[in-house]
């Protein structure tokens, strides 16, 4: 049911671990739904120098986390923020329909980690503060997001 790329990233996940004194940390998802992703960023001069992750979840959750870290490492914050769940899925040669939400979680984890960095560095406007912080664990509705690509991928 999983592509070879998904199985590769699940069996040999890239960038697993933690970063001490990380520039930004984002955690999304909740244990109730069966997946939690935590992403650590080391940011220097607006560039993501290093990234690590920890994930509780299924094969697709681990693989999307791993792929997401690969896609953002070495990128500027602007570039990293533009990476969508669709890009993560495409890089993995697709996900089964029931697993698309894992890629959404990966996108949200990146966004949450970058937001955390910006917040720590006083780069967040008051307007943003009030809005969704990207941490969908806080409202528990990550599976309900409408803005993401939930179109069925191939089985």
């Amino acid at each position: 049911m999983y592509s070879e790329k998904v199985m590769d990233h699940f069996a040999n996940p890239r960038n697993v671990g933690e970063i001490e004194n990380a520039s930004g940390v984002g955690q999304v998802g909740n244990a109730k739904c069966g997946d939690i992703m935590k992403i650590y960023l080391k940011i220097e001069n607006g560039i993501i120098e290093d990234v690590k992750f920890k994930t509780f979840g299924c094969g697709a959750a681990v693989a999307t986390s791993s792929m997401a870290t690969e896609l953002i490492i070495g990128k500027t914050l602007d570039e990293a923020q533009k990476i969508t769940n669709k890009a993560v899925m495409e890089a993995l040669d697709g996900l089964p329909p029931a697993k698309v939400h894992c890629s959404v979680l990966a996108e949200e984890a990146i966004a949450a980690a970058i937001f955390d960095y910006r917040k720590k560095n006083g780069l967040v406007s008051e307007e943003e503060e009030e809005g969704c912080n990207g941490c969908c664990g806080s409202c528990g509705s990550h599976d309900l997001h409408e803005n993401h690509n939930f179109q069925d991928e191939e089985e």
Binding site: M7, F10, A11, P13, V16, E18, Q27, A31, K32, C33, G34, D35, I36, M37, K38, F53, K54, T55, F56, G57, C58, G59, A60, A61, V62, A98, K99, H101, D143
Partner: protein, 400 residues
């Protein structure tokens, strides 16, 4: 693919026994006649079907006119439940089942509930048992049917069926039991249990897939589900699956003959696996009843990790097993059985079901435990829940 699969998912299905295949072979090749035909090769197959029906009835303590073949356990469950509801012409019908039934029962109840039938889903205790007093309290004047499985497919817990059946009967209801996990694995006698309807399926006891059966006690009224020809005495249409029927009879006869030895072996494997896992891996929990359970069933939750990941890594090492995690059910919710016994979602997500069988050895169990130690540790090392636990020493305690 790895060179050898160590199959520990016998609750899902079992491999066909060579003796069973041998018994079926003539009916898959030369003896192709329709058992309802009047000429020689038809009549011969009729004899084979009659012989098989007798053997199966004997194994269950039933009479041969009480055994009806179906294409699956799911069909037999559907037939029993819908058939009783349809055959009963009273108004304001009420039916009862348990919260931990197989979907082949549970989804039928949900379907009937949508049709306007009054339905009660009985809760179970932490070990997964339906308490007789719970059923007694749920009975109403309009209760026409109670359906509770003998043994649960996920956690292996065995129900006090004869007590439950007596309560149903005292209230004037028919009692059905889904015995798909029980028949061939533990002693099942329809008279001793006191049930009116009992579902079983051949592929759970080393028989072929595609053949199930329903025991219908003489006098119990069940409307047909499949209309058509006159097969199965007009109760279930469709050309008889002669090879399947012959295979089911052979498999059940063998299972009953070898039951004592077989269950002792399974018990040994199960207890060894349990002891190995509990002594080598911290933060684990046994799901289901500690003793009143199927001899080959072990269901364990590993805290801080998710079941599908566990299964994938086990598969890479050659082990075939099952889980109650959401990711294996195709929804975001973990197993309804694990939730019904009171597990929090995150503990239910981290469950592993091992169901042992014929081909498994004590060495296989050693090998399994050895691999599990490494796999569970690996997944915990990458789990943010475990990180929280280590740093804050906080977690819902589930050890026991």
């Amino acid at each position: 693919m790895q060179e050898k699969t160590i199959y520990m998912d016998h609750a899902a299905t079992t491999p066909l026994k060579p003796e069973v295949l041998e018994a079926m072979m003539p009916y898959l090749t030369t003896h192709y006649g329709n058992a309802s035909s009047i000429y020689g090769i038809g009549r011969e197959n009729r004899k084979a079907v009659d012989f098989a029906r007798n053997a199966i009835a004997d194994s269950l303590g039933a009479s041969q006119t009480e055994i009806f073949f179906t294409a699956s356990g799911s069909e037999a469950d559907n037939w029993a439940i819908k058939g009783v509801v349809e055959a009963n012409k009273t108004k304001d019908k009420h039916i009862i089942t348990s919260a931990i039934e197989h979907p082949a029962v549970l989804n039928v109840f949900e379907y009937l509930e949508k049709q306007g039938i009054d339905v009660t889903y009985l809760p179970v205790n932490a070990e997964g048992q339906v308490l007789p007093e719970t059923l007694r309290a749920a009975m109403k004047p309009g209760t026409i049917l109670v359906s509770v499985m003998i043994a649960n497919n996920e956690i292996g817990t065995i129900q006090p069926i004869s007590e439950l059946a007596a309560i149903a009967h005292a209230g004037g209801a028919v009692f059905h039991t889904d015995a798909v996990q029980a028949v061939g694995n533990i002693p099942v006698n329809v008279r001793e249990l006191g049930v009116d309807l009992l579902t079983f399926s051949a592929h759970k006891f080393y028989g072929p897939k595609g053949i199930g059966a329903l025991y219908v006690k003489k006098g119990c009224k069940v409307a047909p589900l499949i209309h058509g020809g006159h097969q199965e005495r007009g109760k279930r249409a469709g050309t008889e699956n002669v090879p399947g029927i012959v295979g089911m009879a052979k498999a059940l006869t063998l299972a009953v003959e070898n039951m004592v030895v077989h269950s002792e072996k399974l018990l040994l494997l199960r207890e060894k696996a349990k002891d190995g896992i509990f002594s080598r891996i911290p933060h684990v929990r046994l799901n289901g009843h500690p003793t009143v359970r199927l001899p080959g069933n072990l269901n364990i939750s590993f805290q801080f990790i998710e079941g599908e990941s566990l299964l994938l890594l086990l598969d890479m090492k050659g082990f075939a097993a099952s889980s109650g995690s959401a990711c294996t059910s195709g929804s975001l919710d973990p197993s309804h059985v694990l939730l019904a016994i009171g597990l929090p979602h995150e503990i239910a997500h981290g469950s592993l079901r091992l169901s042992f069988g014929d081909s498994n050895t004590l060495e296989d169990v050693d090998h399994l435990v050895e691999n599990l130690v490494g796999i569970v540790d690996r997944l915990r090392q990458m789990s943010p829940l475990y990180e929280d636990f280590v740093k804050n020493n906080y977690a819902i305690s589930v050890d026991r």
